[in-house]
Symmetry: C2
Subunit: 274 residues, 2 copies
């Protein structure tokens, strides 16, 4: 029996997984990439010793990252995904009829290649004619985008190393400028159990630019701290308004799940986010 | 640096914690008991290699176990806690003015002793005159209790070994009989990510006896599977009704947290709990 030990970049808990097989291993310019096979989780994508997704439960994260903003926006036609080289967020975004164009900006082309080879249930959207893939730094892309995007989805690795540039004031300013007047920004922003200061810091930065800033959460087993947050910022739509009726096929997301995921106001007060 | 490796009884993920010191270690008739000191979590209580609580975040679990039913019941005067030898649930129950008597039924007296010695913020309620401690099997206690309890709280270890008796049809039948006509039963019932079949099984068993059966959840980092469930069953009160106004001091629990914790109906449908 092989064992994979996850390196928590914040070093609070370390996780070990039984694995059956190392399906693939390579070193790209940006990441140590591995695909493992676990008896419980199915295939697992690992970057720099951190679990990015498992076949068993990736849909919790990807559905919530994508469908919450795409059901708040009344007509999401032009989407940018920053990161997300595994294709999971792309697959979910493409389910929406309104979506005409998705730009996926992934700094590490090799993550996309590995996903295409080993994770067909995630990478199924890469051949869709609505998709444009850009191999570049997400922060540079957003800086040079015109006011043309309806939704920006930041599906990044942990905010250490090269992903740091996606959580700066400059990036949030550029994201604001890249969005149309009713645009919505969402980023995965780590765990409320382990990274509370980080979450609050991002919320405060976003609140300086956007009309609405809010937080929704979900429990994810393979992400350290588990009580996982998505920070949402919106130029016009109130994120707490009733979402559009869900017409896309989902395993977890639904209208009541959407509404329920937003952090109760009493907790926002305790975290001084109000 | 010492390391503590948690043994997940379901063996899906194993967790390792940095620890500074083993503060205490003993073997009782029922448990291998340890108190560890962690730089992040503070003191940790470990039974049979499974983390039961940490000083840092125990209040999430204990507040939700106790305050949800005690805010649904209009006058909770007589409470039984099955297990809960650490005292955390007891501490929360005693905050309620309506509470006149709490019977804590812990099979392992040594857990109570260890908590009194090492976990003063948890064991603070043991000296309260409203408390009666019974050192016996919780299933035996409930079998012989008259129809006298307002609320039963099952604060048990994982349903392996001696705690198995707290999740049988017989136990749920006896619990029903031990409750007054408007009584409420709550049990911790493991994780929806890892132990979905177990959770559903308990829900179905409870639904055979009680007028209302429901499920509420919270994300807990040190419990394997993290998306932690509490199964609630009620003879009269609908658990989804608006809770009584919260007048007790809490760190996490609040009226909106209470309402939000109940599993969305769409997920209950997907789990075939409706």
């Amino acid at each position: 029996v092989l064992l994979f030990r996850e390196k928590d970049p914040f070093a609070v808990i370390n996780y070990s997984y039984q694995i059956e097989e190392i399906l693939h291993k390579r070193k790209s310019k940006y990441n140590d990439i591995m695909v493992l096979k676990s008896p419980h989780f199915g295939k697992m994508l690992i970057l720099d010793n951190v679990v990015q997704l498992t076949e068993l439960d990736e849909y919790f994260y990807h559905e919530m990252l994508v469908h919450v903003p795409l059901h708040i926006h009344s007509s999401p036609t032009h989407i940018a995904i920053i990161g997300g080289g595994d294709g999971g967020a792309l697959r979910e975004a493409l389910k929406h009829e309104a979506v005409e164009k998705v730009v996926l900006v992934e700094i590490d082309r090799e993550v996309i290649e590995v996903s295409k080879s080993f994770l067909p249930t995630l990478s199924s959207g890469f051949g869709d004619p609505r998709v444009e893939i850009m191999t570049m730094d997400g922060a540079d892309f957003i800086k040079n985008a015109g006011e043309e995007l309806d939704v920006i989805l930041v599906d990044s690795t942990d905010p250490v190393g090269f992903a740091k540039s996606l959580f700066t004031n400059q990036f949030f300013t550029d994201a604001f400028s890249a969005l149309k007047p009713d645009g919505i920004f969402v980023a995965q922003t780590e765990s409320l159990h382990f990274h509370r200061d980080f979450v609050c810091n991002v919320q405060h930065k976003l609140a300086q630019k956007f009309k609405h800033t809010d937080l929704y959460t979900i429990s994810i087993t393979t992400y350290a701290g588990n009580w996982w947050t998505f920070s949402i910022a919106s130029k016009e739509y109130n994120p707490r308004k009733k979402p559009r009726k869900c017409k896309v096929p989902t395993k977890y997301y639904a209208e009541d799940v959407h509404i329920n995921a937003f952090l109760p106001q009493s907790l926002k007060e305790k975290l001084r986010l109000l």
